[in-house]
Symmetry: C2
Subunit: 362 residues, 2 copies
């Protein structure tokens, strides 16, 4: 297909990654009449249960990647840590959406912060710590408390340590090095919010309402919509998200996490070039949800309306919490269970959406 033509129903969407996000993308793609092909090294991947087309192979297996590419019409992914070589290899064979630049930037905290700063988008103060020599310099610049983080492969609180003084800093450095690190100012935020935004091949943009997020043990626990923020803040968050996808010439859905300062000022915490956990509420109450929106965007279809029909609270079910289903299902709860074979502590097993719709008058 020419890259500016919409992908017709019946085409095949290739998805790198077989976790819950890949699974939910595949379900949305099916509703639009697309076939899906999941590529994942783990043969037990939950996404393998929702399509007959799979490849079980490593992400650096170029033979398997080439065969995979020959079976699909467009390639997307459910996680930002797709190796750069894999992305480059696939992008030469089929359209890769979102593009390799979004991966390169979001894989590296320093590159991400540099990108945001260049685009005049506010982030927490930061300083590169490529080696121990630069640690003191960074501490002097940023001050304490601060957070020392690996620049790559961090998620759910992994790869970071709080630094309250110079001793902490030394310990943290030993624990996290020899990876390249970044020291970030510790932000005394009022709340955390996020915006999920989509942009399609024609440059159309649509942002969902901001969600207010609460973390527990560094893992997202709830997303509440509407967020308890003013209209101006909500508008500004959406504007920043739209600015980011425009600057990246982005295609697909992207998540932007913000700190809201007591002053109401917004700092971008991080961006994720994929459907986002804090956007799972959209499936329950939006005209178009984030999964369908991502597929529409990468297929070159017109974007759908992100309007929300009801208030909602999304709650992640982590580890054994999944046991609440089906026993504790209130009628107004829409559950989503990921079909993972094994429940482990800290593992996201499913989520529920508590929908605050008007009750039907009987």
């Amino acid at each position: 297909m020419a890259s500016d033509q919409p992908l017709p129903p019946g085409s095949t969407i290739g998805i790198l990654g077989g976790g819950q996000l890949g699974r939910m993308l595949a379900l949305a793609a099916a509703r639009l009449g697309f076939k899906t092909h999941i590529y994942c090294p783990d043969a037990q991947s939950p996404a393998f249960e929702v399509t007959p087309n799979r490849t079980v192979a490593a992400y650096d297996d170029e033979q398997a990647l080439a065969v995979f590419a020959s079976h699909v019409d467009v390639v997307t992914y459910e996680f930002e840590n797709v190796p750069a070589r894999t992305a480059k290899f696939l992008a030469e064979l089929k359209p890769l959406r979102p593009g390799a630049n979004a991966l390169a930037i979001s894989q590296d905290r320093l590159a991400e912060k540099a990108f945001l700063t260049v685009n005049r988008i506010a982030v927490a103060p930061f300083a590169a710590v490529p080696d121990h020599d630069r640690l003191d310099e960074a501490l002097a610049e940023i001050g304490t408390p601060a957070v020392l983080k690996t620049t790559r492969m961090g998620y759910d609180g992994k790869g970071q340590r709080i630094v309250r003084n110079d001793v902490d800093a030394g310990v943290a450095f030993e624990l996290l090095s020899p990876k390249p690190l970044v020291l970030e100012g510790f932000i005394e935020f009022d709340k955390e919010i996020s915006v999920v935004v989509a942009r399609n091949t024609r440059g159309e943009i649509a942002a969902f309402d901001p969600a207010e997020n609460v973390h527990r043990d560094h893992i997202l626990k709830t997303s509440t919509v509407p967020a308890d923020i003013g209209k101006k803040t909500a508008r500004e968050a959406r504007d920043i998200a739209e600015k980011i996808v425009t600057a990246l010439d982005y295609v697909g859905v992207l998540g932007v996490e913000f700190f809201v300062l007591p002053s109401g000022r917004l700092l971008v915490n991080e961006i994720a070039p994929r459907v986002h956990n804090s956007g799972h509420w959209t499936e329950a109450v939006c005209i178009t949800d984030q999964f369908e929106q991502h597929i529409r965007a990468i297929a070159g279809w017109p974007l759908g309306d992100p309007a929300r029909m009801a208030d909602v609270v999304m709650e992640n079910l982590i580890g054994d919490e999944i046991g609440a289903i089906p026993a504790n299902l209130a009628p107004s709860i829409q559950p989503h269970v990921y079909g993972k074979s094994e429940s482990r502590a800290g593992r996201k097993m499913g989520h529920i959406n508590r929908i605050g719709a008007k009750s039907r008058t009987k």
Copy 2:
């Protein structure tokens, strides 16, 4: 499992029939964490694209049915013409939901009308026409205009002829016989509505709002919600639907089609022991849609809330009309494309839901 225990996520739901209804049931089951296994004689079935587990075999292949039963925890179906022997064979191996009695009654127009009449539910006047000798008697009883129908295997207007006089009746009889027939009074209805209702293993019942249906060439074209009927009629339609599932000791989702007479009186036209085309709107705007509701019901889970969050019009895309996707997708349209490989005249290829939600204030 004991039949009164809820089926846990990770269990496998067996579905007879691989069309769009089976496909949409499988997608809903996946959201609840279930695996699905589709059984269908047609290797090109669209439902085969949304699960890795399939059986391609005839419905009377008892060896294949036995293997299928051994792989699943509960059996359901997407169409009412499952052969009685197949239903009986499977029901001895695994729970069959809805049960064989619902199939037996809904497969035969005479049995269905007798069941409804016994339960004091109004239907159009009817008379059995088992052979030509009884045709005159039936005409004398019912009068003209009337509709002569086969008692079995009729759908989308197939297997029926309008009879305006005795000559018509003779011609219609020759065209439709030697199948057993039924003569029904021609109803001058004001509109057609339907109610989709669910009942679970514990006897909980939940009905969706009535939809107002418009047919074109005997095929459902649109379902509009809310229906343009009074509250009393809406309440009565829901009450009748609830009475039917109770009388059948039914488990699953069932569709009830009604004629609304100019007086406001309701006659039941027919019932279908499955998710229903006139319930496709629920996927776009209800807290729990008909597909999830069916899976919850047959899995012994609590039913979800059928409340509606917005007004909606569902429109079937028949034959080449599917070409409107994605070109003519307005943002407030939620499309569903069935993934059928070939578009034929009269074939249901997909549907769209036009959602009349309040727009987001930006």
